[in-house]
Symmetry: C2
């Protein structure tokens, strides 16, 4: 049991709150039972270490500890003081995991860089994607990843100009969705749009200045929603490079929706027009 909050290992975990350390080590921290449980369940190959207090060891025995041990992961018992010293949040609820940002073991696709990771996603013939070109707010980025997961998107693409999705605020606001679908980071926007088009994926800029209203947009073919910055939207050159520019209709007096809301409304509009995997359209969905 680790009890010394000043130990080198404790400080090295705490240091993952810095973006530079995450980039250098290729690791990040996941705090709290929801995120750790989903990481163990869906991304066990990337989980390096799980740290649990005595109390949490009992509370999350079935949820986290047994599945982690069954996957041959390191589960370390730590004192509450050690966990508090490791964690960036005030209340990590007794659980923290250190996770690789990319899956180095998986044929090296992610580890070989953003372009290779994007190619791996495109090999799966995705039908619904979202690209964050310049999202700066951690809560917005995390909420879009969660919304994309809920709407059944096949992956989330994130440009190099966007917030680091492995920061603790983003990780927390994804509510575990970060481990549910591929999240490709570090992409160049222009190259990505060209690559998507070359793979027959329509690019739809979501923008308040769009000429196509969301209910009029053709969402039946494979497509990617392209989201801009919270404050200034998408630059002209990105809008121009997309196949269509779509706006969510504003019915009342509001100037706009926030980015996460707009993305969620767009993604759910796509889900409503999307045939289920296998081509079956269940009753009640618009085909």
């Amino acid at each position: 049991m680790l009890t010394n909050p000043r130990a080198e290992r404790v400080r090295s975990v705490r240091a993952l709150s810095k973006r530079s350390v995450r980039e250098r080590t290729g690791r990040f921290a996941v705090e709290g039972p929801q995120g750790v449980r989903e990481a163990v369940r869906y991304a066990a190959a990337r989980v390096r270490d799980v740290y649990v207090t005595s109390e949490a060891l009992e509370r999350y025995a079935l949820d986290i500890v047994e599945p982690a041990r069954a996957a041959n992961l390191w589960v370390h018992e730590v004192s509450a003081e050690v966990l508090a010293a490791m964690a960036e949040t005030d209340a990590p609820q007794g659980v923290l995991a250190v996770v690789d940002t990319v899956d180095g073991a998986r044929a090296g696709a992610d580890a070989a860089g953003p372009a290779a990771a994007l190619a791996a996603v495109l090999d799966t013939h995705p039908r619904l994607l979202v690209l964050l070109t310049n999202v700066r707010d951690p809560g917005n980025a995390g909420t879009v990843i969660r919304g994309a997961d809920a709407a059944g998107a096949d992956a989330v693409l994130v440009s190099s100009a966007s917030v680091d999705v492995h920061s603790s605020k983003v990780v927390r606001s994804t509510a575990g969705s970060l481990f549910h679908l591929p999240v490709v980071t570090g992409l160049d926007v222009e190259v990505t749009l060209e690559t998507l088009r070359a793979h027959g994926i329509r690019t739809l800029a979501a923008d308040g200045a769009g000429s196509t209203l969301l209910p009029d947009a053709d969402l039946t073919a494979p497509h990617c929603w392209v989201m801009g910055n919270e404050a200034w939207g998408l630059p002209d050159e990105v809008r121009d490079a997309c196949d269509d520019v779509v706006r969510v209709p504003i019915h009342g007096r509001a100037e706009s929706l926030n980015l996460a809301m707009a993305a969620t409304v767009c993604l759910y509009a796509s889900a409503g027009q999307r045939p289920q995997r296998g081509g079956v359209t269940p009753a009640g969905y618009r085909a």
Copy 2:
């Protein structure tokens, strides 16, 4: 020009950050140009005082200062120190207004209490409403108000158990929408559901345990979305008291959407099925 940050007036504005003071005085503070502009534009009868720094006086001359003076509002020039002492936020961008929480001048409807304010809303034959029964997070509450405005809802109803919508965090996250549509606070949930039904308004509980999927819900008649608590949803007795329990379909591995996202998706589904005011359905909307 007010220059003394320790003046009684400055302290009385700052005190509005306390809920007890807001309730006793019936006033709240709106910080920043977006909120103040929308308050002056859409709720001038409720604006008591506008405080502006010299710099902001020039910057927002057309947006805020002239409209405020045209509406015979008090516009006070203050030093940056005074504004900082009045404000709860770090960067109110040179503008702050003190606003009445209810419209005491308007035939006394709001001032006569929640039931009378609800009756005034129902007199307008609303077709789309949302009721927050137990929303605790300020960001969620504000975002729902903004989403309701954007989706063309006729009013937002808020129970007495929910967060105070006049707290600075809620006001800020409404992005001005607080002044765009009626927001009735302090309601009793059970009585409100009965009143809505008596007025022919269907009540739709939005809940992950709902048996009706959102795309299957009948949203053509006047209805009210009933939203529960962020963590534990709606209690059985509220679900049972509603006409239908509707869930947003989750297509991926996410456990749920957050409350603001779920509300926005539901409200936009309603907007998509709603005839425009006057009965005209523009091309591209699902009638």
